[in-house]
Amino acid sequence: MKVGIVVFPGSNCDHDCYYAAAHAAGAHPVFLWHKDHELKNVDAIIVPGGFSYGDYLRSGAMARFSPIMEEVVAFANRGGMVLGVCNGFQILTESGLLPGVLMRNKNLKFLCCDVHVRSELEPSATPFTKKIDKGRVLRMPIAHNDGCYYADAETLDRLEGEGQIAFRYVSAAGAISESGNPNGSLRSIAGVRNEKGNVLGLMPHPERCAEDLLGNQDGALLIQGFSS
């Protein structure tokens, strides 16, 4: 499995995704440069976290216009697997591959901590969740300024109805609560998928918890979606 990792100016989780894809999933990772139109025949793509173009305008707003994103969008529309993490999730919403937007955290501060998310999908709903039972609670780190998921009520209802909400912030015990929702996301949404299920975006960082040495391997379950 060849996994392409997009590198924008300001990406800073590109090397982490590379390492996790290779070590946790046994995949063959390659970097995809933002100025190129070349996807190097990859089987799947990760849009990693960071501060693309400094995120000075609005998170992800500049990155969607880069040459590589034209190819990523076309790849996704052909049914290719695309995973967006953190800034990558923001870029996927900005480019229209995923619904909704990510707004400033409710406390208006950058927030880095472990959170718990609950899988809302049947394992077969996306290639990334095939190792994760519906209802399973995963612990993962977040690190973002703009993680408050927002969409209008109609869109949110549609996402609920069509099973597009992939992960919700919950307490360690798996219950939805105000205190378990770190950034004020509507309906505690931490990650969503597209209609076909080949594109998934989430704010928590699975690549940061894919190793026993780091005290947590929950993220490996997602990354391993690439391995087969």
Partner: protein
């Protein structure tokens, strides 16, 4: 068609008064005229002013800094380069330094702190290293001072904004409050990087005819005379100095980092240096000085942010995110291609010349023609008068025995664990990305942070430490204890100390009592470093930390790097399993002199502090590392501010959720047992069988070791003295900082 020749405006006339306006004394001005045999031009005088500023020249501190031990079998580069470099085997080396950004952070906390982080990051990656961790040591005024909340919020957001965007985890640090920092907060930022030993780059100009290239952001009018500003006291006009604070752009620096590391993979770079304090002046002069060459600069080639800038402004601008490099002649285009790939400015602005002169041209006219030496080693050296501060003996004679307990042991513990200096720092470090790069094995909140090194079994332990109250009471002893505490913290996670960087924050060196503190503290740091076998490989001095004549507590911050050979043997502070035995290594009784107890309960600073036994510290460190290596120790936590009761509470709160029961009767007064402080003490947990082995090992090593109790339940109970639920302790501990920041 030829453009009409517009003559560059003439430079202002120079005299003693102009020199004074730039921060030079009449004697220094006379020295300059004498050294170069004529009156300097205006831009030349500006260059002297910044190069001879306290910040760049260390003119008041150098005579003392010379006494530091700076060598060792692992030291590849000691002080004098952009950062220190220490070998860690496997062909790898660790590059690190701590630097202050105190003055800018007081004037404009967010940008001041952000550019402090940006500057220290550049110091590290200019040597070829990829930054792998940041730490910071922050000191603020009284928690209830009207500016504290604003300054703390701004500094934390500034530190975070820069490191987070750069993708460098901020894994540790310190935060303290004391009224002496009311008008002068301290922001000390440390960066640690990793470099293959054969790819180390130095800030040297070599090879006559080689091009000098400028990379990164354009030069603007920001930060002019920042180094001079940082070398003066604050007064009523400080607010007007806001324009001397630079504005940071971490996005550009991230590009600069990646572009530089990519360019360094080629063989086209001869030398490279970041433009930090004193910008183009300092980088040009220092590169020429280290390479024993001259440099010719053509200011017309320097990318500018605005029109009409004059040579003085260009040479003194402290615009951020810029580097100066010397390339192999003929490979300019190869390098330009790499920097253009990263959308960065890159242009040839000069060349390396034979001889020893820095020559600067502007619009066809030579505006600077100076020999390098007077700018660097020609700077004055001051052995300033020193005198023990008045009133120090009265502080030592404080009658601790007459002070009351101020409450029951339970009340006092609750008060201390939620107090500004001891409560949880989560509000701070949750604003820092501490998990990016996926190396953080131990993050903020423990004794030392641990980052593993991918591709090896090794890990680095990182900490920053100082207790300024101890330094105030006894600068020599207090500074020695800062090194000892750092070594203990590093040992508590299983690492052997490699080397330190220091950031020496003091008041006005022209005052004999401040200079006395400085000299004594440097002596103490040196004594401890020699005894523990830990060289000083880099550092920074920040003087004039005074506002309207009032100085800060002397604050020599120690940043230490330790090495863990096998990351499988990494330690931790928190208790892990019910039934484990709790041991105390070191003396049971502490002292209330200079303690947090004395500060929180009585608002006092005084007493005679206990002395550190450095030989015993060394033995203690070895015992801890052996214990982790052979699996006898499960956890270890340094007993520092707040004493034994606070340390035990921290062991519970940092652990798996289990409480503890302690049985130990007071030999002396209860407060000294529970809250007294002393060096050389560590709380350890182990299985019952291993606890016996540890007791034997300690006895053999001549270390006091006693059984304190057991890990159990969900309370911290000290038989006969107090019993508190962990839930209560946690609430108070976590809530302490929120009360100050209003979150």
């Amino acid at each position: 068609m030829t453009a009409p020749a517009t003559a560059a405006p003439r430079e202002p006339e120079v005299d003693e008064k102009v020199a004074r306006g730039m921060g030079l004394t009449p004697a220094e001005y006379a020295r300059i005229c004498d050294l170069i045999g004529r009156k300097p031009g205006y831009t030349e005088l500006g260059m002297f002013a910044v190069m001879w500023s306290e910040h760049c020249s260390y003119k008041s501190s150098r005579v003392h800094l010379k006494t530091f031990p700076t060598t060792g079998p692992r030291v590849l580069k000691g002080p004098g380069e952009n950062a220190g470099i220490v070998s860690i085997g496997d062909g790898l080396a660790v590059v690190f330094k701590m630097e202050s950004h105190n003055h800018p952070s007081f004037i404009e906390p967010h940008q001041g702190a952000a550019t402090g982080v940006g500057g220290i990051l550049r110091d590290v990656f200019t040597m070829g290293a990829r930054p792998i961790a940041n730490l910071n040591s922050l000191s603020f005024g009284a928690p209830d001072h009207p500016k504290t909340r604003y300054l703390l919020g701004g500094v934390v957001s500034g530190v975070g904004s820069y490191g987070n965007c750069m993708g460098v985890p901020t894994v540790g640090g310190e935060l303290r409050f004391h009224p002496s920092y009311n008008g002068n907060n301290l922001v000390n930022a440390m960066t640690v990087g990793l470099v293959p030993e054969e790819k180390i780059f130095l800030g040297q100009a070599h090879g006559v005819g080689n091009p000098v290239m400028y990379v990164g952001s354009r030069t603007g009018r920001d930060g002019i005379h920042g180094a001079t500003m940082a070398s003066g006291e604050f007064d009523q006009e400080t607010e007007e100095k806001r324009p001397t604070v630079q504005v940071g752009d971490p996005f550009t620096e991230k590009l600069l980092l990646e572009a530089c590391l990519e360019a360094m993979k080629s063989d086209h770079i001869v030398g490279i240096q970041d433009m930090g304090a004193a910008g183009l002046t300092c980088s040009t002069v220092e590169m020429a000085d280290r390479g024993n060459t001259g440099i010719l600069l053509d200011l017309d080639k320097v990318p500018l942010r605005e029109d009409g800038m004059v040579p003085y402004e260009m040479m003194l601008s402290e615009s951020q995110e810029r580097m100066l490099l010397v390339a192999q002649k003929g490979h300019e285009q190869d390098l330009i291609r790499i920097f253009q790939k990263w959308d960065l400015q890159c242009s040839v602005v000069g060349e390396v010349t034979d001889g020893d002169r820095v020559v600067v041209k502007h619009q066809g006219r030579v505006v600077v023609d100076l020999p390098v030496n007077p700018l660097t080693s020609g700077a004055p050296l001051y052995d300033r008068p020193r005198a023990e501060p008045e009133g120090l003996h009265e502080l030592h004679d404080l009658d601790l025995a007459s002070l009351d307990s101020g409450g029951t042991p339970a009340e006092t513990l609750v008060r201390l664990i939620g107090s500004p200096n001891l409560c949880s720092r989560r509000w701070v470090w949750s604003q820092y990305d501490h998990t990016v790069q996926t190396n953080t094995v131990r993050g903020p909140g423990g004794d030392a942070a641990v980052v593993r090194i991918k591709g090896t079994h090794k890990a680095l332990a990182l900490t920053s430490d100082v207790n300024p109250r101890l330094v105030a009471l006894d600068p020599e002893e207090g500074a020695a204890q800062a090194v000892a505490e750092a070594a203990r913290n590093v040992a508590c996670v299983g690492a052997v100390p490699l080397a330190i960087t220091d950031c020496l924050n003091f008041g006005n060196p022209e005052k004999p009592d401040v200079m006395w503190q400085f000299e004594r503290a440097v002596a103490g740091l040196g004594r401890a470093c020699r005894a523990l076998g830990v060289p000083v490989v880099s550092g920074n001095v920040s003087l004039y930390n005074e506002t309207e004549g009032k100085g800060i507590l002397p604050t020599p911050t120690v940043g230490m790097v330790g090495l863990i050979d096998n990351v499988a043997h990494v330690g931790q502070a928190g208790f892990r399993d019910e039934g484990d035995v709790i041991l105390l290594l070191g003396d049971a009784m502490g002292s209330l002199a200079g303690s947090e107890w004395l500060h929180v309960l009585h608002g006092l600073l005084g007493g005679r502090i206990p002395r550190v036994d450095l030989a015993r510290e060394r033995t203690l460190g070895e015992l801890l590392r052996d214990g982790y290596r052979n699996g006898t120790i499960k956890s270890a936590h340094d007993v520092s501010e707040g004493g034994l009761a606070v340390a035990l509470a921290e062991c519970c709160l940092l652990g798996s959720g289990a409480g503890a029961t302690i049985k130990l009767d007071p030999i002396d007064r209860i407060d000294s047992l529970l809250f007294g402080e002393a060096p050389g003490r560590v709380v350890v947990s182990a299985t019952a069988a291993n606890a016996r082995k540890l007791e034997k090992a300690a006895e053999k090593a001549g270390l006091p070791c006693r059984k304190l109790g057991k890990v159990e339940g969900d309370h911290l109970e000290w038989k006969g003295l107090f019993r508190l639920s962990l839930a209560t302790l946690r609430d108070v501990h976590e809530g302490g900082l929120r009360a100050i920041v209003g979150a």
